[in-house]
């Protein structure tokens, strides 16, 4: 088991190396070099340009650049932002992590409670009117562009009815000495619209995943056997059926963990949510290649971490896997 874990860890590290290599190459496919575009926009003098080149290590042979890049990444140095010069990319990412985790975490919590519950509900009523309508509804949610939904919700709930704030995570006018409850309510009010947007467009996959997984399990013999021994419907549903329909959800959770960190570029940008997604959107506007690259790298790292966590979860929850 330990050996298996170590092997998975080694695989993840190897994959991350490939990611680093790919991202490095991606930067290189740009015609000219990354600074050329910066120069276009900001009229940097030739002297400054060569200084910058040296600063970014662009005056060195490509092999050496790759070496430095890898060295930087391994020590957590993702380079310097262009738009936020001279801030470190890693520092910027770190300061924006909290809000993204808050937003993404809330959405994941909803998807994995409401989504799971709805998926189980549907599977138990397979083919019923409820099932059909929920399937249509979730398929629709799945087809809605998040940025458009965000705008529509803002138009309705903020601009038209003035019920909820449209941007930011906290009210800037709220004094720092306000009571904790007031601050908490303020935060929740700011959370509602972005969470609603992201949940509406992503709840569908949780539902569909859970429905399919549960359908697979419900036709297995042991579910009927559990009912035959006189367990309550709740025990049959959750302890027996769902406990076995959990594994695909674990995989999905692994796929969604990156969402905690990167949030959503579109939704964070529209709501001006001070997270990493909005940072990426700013990087696009500012043509900030290092920042965008650092964000991508962080996202990839968390993707791999998510996969790894899903595997470990599988290991802990499934005795059959544990045995191998």
């Amino acid at each position: 088991m330990i050996r298996w874990l170590l092997r998975r860890l080694a695989q993840a590290v190897a994959t991350f190396l490939v990611v680093t290599l790919l991202l490095f190459l991606l930067m290189r496919v740009a015609p000219g070099d990354p600074l050329a575009r910066l120069v276009d926009q900001r009229r940097v003098s030739p002297e400054e340009l060569s200084l910058l080149r040296a600063r970014f290590g662009l005056d060195q042979p490509i092999g050496q650049q790759l070496g430095q890049f890898l060295q930087g990444v391994s020590s957590g140095d993702l380079g310097v932002s262009i738009a936020h010069y001279p801030d470190q990319v890693s520092t910027l990412l770190w300061t924006r992590l909290g809000p993204s985790v808050l937003l993404g975490g809330t959405v994941l919590l909803i998807n994995f409670t409401l989504g799971v519950w709805l998926g189980v509900f549907q599977a138990e009523r397979r083919g019923s009117r409820w099932d059909r309508w929920l399937t249509r509804l979730s398929l629709t949610g799945y087809s809605v562009p998040s940025f458009w939904l965000a705008l529509i919700l803002v138009a309705i709930f903020s601009l038209h009815w003035h019920w909820l704030p449209a941007t930011q995570m906290t009210d800037p006018l709220l004094s720092g000495s306000a009571p904790l409850a007031t601050k908490a309510i303020d935060l929740v009010r700011h959370l509602i619209l972005p969470v609603l947007t992201l949940s509406l467009v992503s709840l569908a996959s949780a539902m569909r995943y859970q429905r399919t997984a549960m359908l697979e399990v419900l036709r297995l013999d042991f579910v009927r056997a559990a009912a035959a021994r006189g367990l309550t419907p709740g025990q049959v549903r959750w302890r027996h059926a769902w406990r076995n329909a959990l594994f695909p959800m674990l995989t999905l959770l692994g796929l969604w963990i990156p969402f905690l960190v990167t949030g959503s570029v579109f939704v964070e940008a529209i709501f001006n949510w001070p997270g990493i997604g909005a940072l990426a959107a700013e990087a696009i506007l500012g043509r900030d290649y290092p920042l965008l690259q650092g964000t991508a790298m962080l996202a990839a790292a968390v993707v791999l971490l998510g996969n790894l966590l899903a595997d470990v979860g599988h290991l802990l929850l499934d005795p059959r896997v544990r045995a191998t």
Binding site: P145, E216, A296
Partner: protein, 280 residues
């Protein structure tokens, strides 16, 4: 292969949801093809000072802040969206199938290297790869945009096809064909490909929906289809500033996206349950 696509479509048609999807999609394609005839010029701004006008007899769905006809732009946008999605997915599926067959059939070091690269590429969220690539251009040309989307969309397909190839390679009839002296290429094309059509078709269909959303998103961020070419995402971006005064300019392009993606997903869903009845 065309035969299996045809029978897959028939299966999708039998599913009520799939039928709705097919009807809507065919309607959209027709509109995109015939649209330019009899509609106002989507680029013409007859009365820029007037700004956005509400829906009326002159402009069925109103005009955008630059007084361009929303309906005409929607129809042209459909053409752009469907072209981008269709070509990009075609490219992605072709590359994915080629890489998958190559890796699965050759095996060994080629397989290992290709699959490690795919692992790495799949770990980076597609949006970020796309953002990094589109930023290479100051204003990305449409052809390059299609290319970029296609080049970032084949990883999953290649894995799928590789798995299918590995499964089929051990199947008896391929070995039998090999024993009869058929060349490897012949074996691959005549036997493997038709058998892998099903999963590829499902992946491609769902891929079209994903690409339409991605294209809209990137255009909304300003790094996709470049103005003045109309695109649904770009139209929403233009209308953002007049959200309250001219909601029609933002609402209709969004509805167009939802309708199109939903139609595609309905078809994909119907195809999938056709191939695997248990998932229905």
């Amino acid at each position: 292969m065309t035969g299996s696509i045809w029978s897959a479509l028939q299966r999708a048609w039998r599913d009520p949801g799939g039928r709705v999807g097919i009807v809507v999609l065919v309607g959209l394609v027709l509109a995109a093809l015939l649209g330019p005839f009899g509609l106002p010029d989507p680029l013409a701004a007859p009365n820029p000072i007037a700004g956005a006008q509400p829906p009326g007899p002159d402009h069925l769905l109103g005009t955008d802040p630059l007084s361009r006809d929303v309906f005409a732009r929607l129809v042209t946008g459909a053409r752009i969206s469907l072209t981008v999605a269709g070509l990009a997915v075609l490219l992605a599926v072709t590359i994915g199938a080629a890489v998958g067959i190559l890796a699965g059939y050759l095996g060994g070091i080629v397989d290992s290297v290709l699959m490690r690269l795919v692992d790495g590429a799949m770990a980076i969220p597609r949006l970020f790869i796309l953002l990094l690539l589109t930023l290479v251009w100051e204003r990305i040309p449409l052809a390059a945009f299609i290319l970029v989307i296609g080049l970032t969309g084949w990883f999953g397909t290649s894995r799928l096809v590789r798995g299918e190839v590995l499964r089929l390679r051990s199947a008896e009839f391929v070995q039998a064909a090999g024993a009869l002296g058929a060349s490897s290429a012949r074996v691959m094309l005549r036997h493997l490909f038709p058998n892998a059509t099903g999963p590829i078709l499902v992946a491609a269909t769902l891929g079209v929906g994903e690409v339409i959303l991605l294209e809209a998103g990137l255009s909304f961020l300003g790094v996709g289809v470049q103005p003045p070419t109309p695109s649904w995402g770009g139209m929403i971006l233009d209308a953002r500033s007049v959200l309250m005064t001219a909601p029609w300019a933002a609402v209709f392009p969004g509805l167009a996206i939802v309708m199109t993606v939903l139609a595609v997903n309905l078809i994909g869903d119907a195809l999938q349950s056709g191939f695997d009845p248990r998932s229905a």
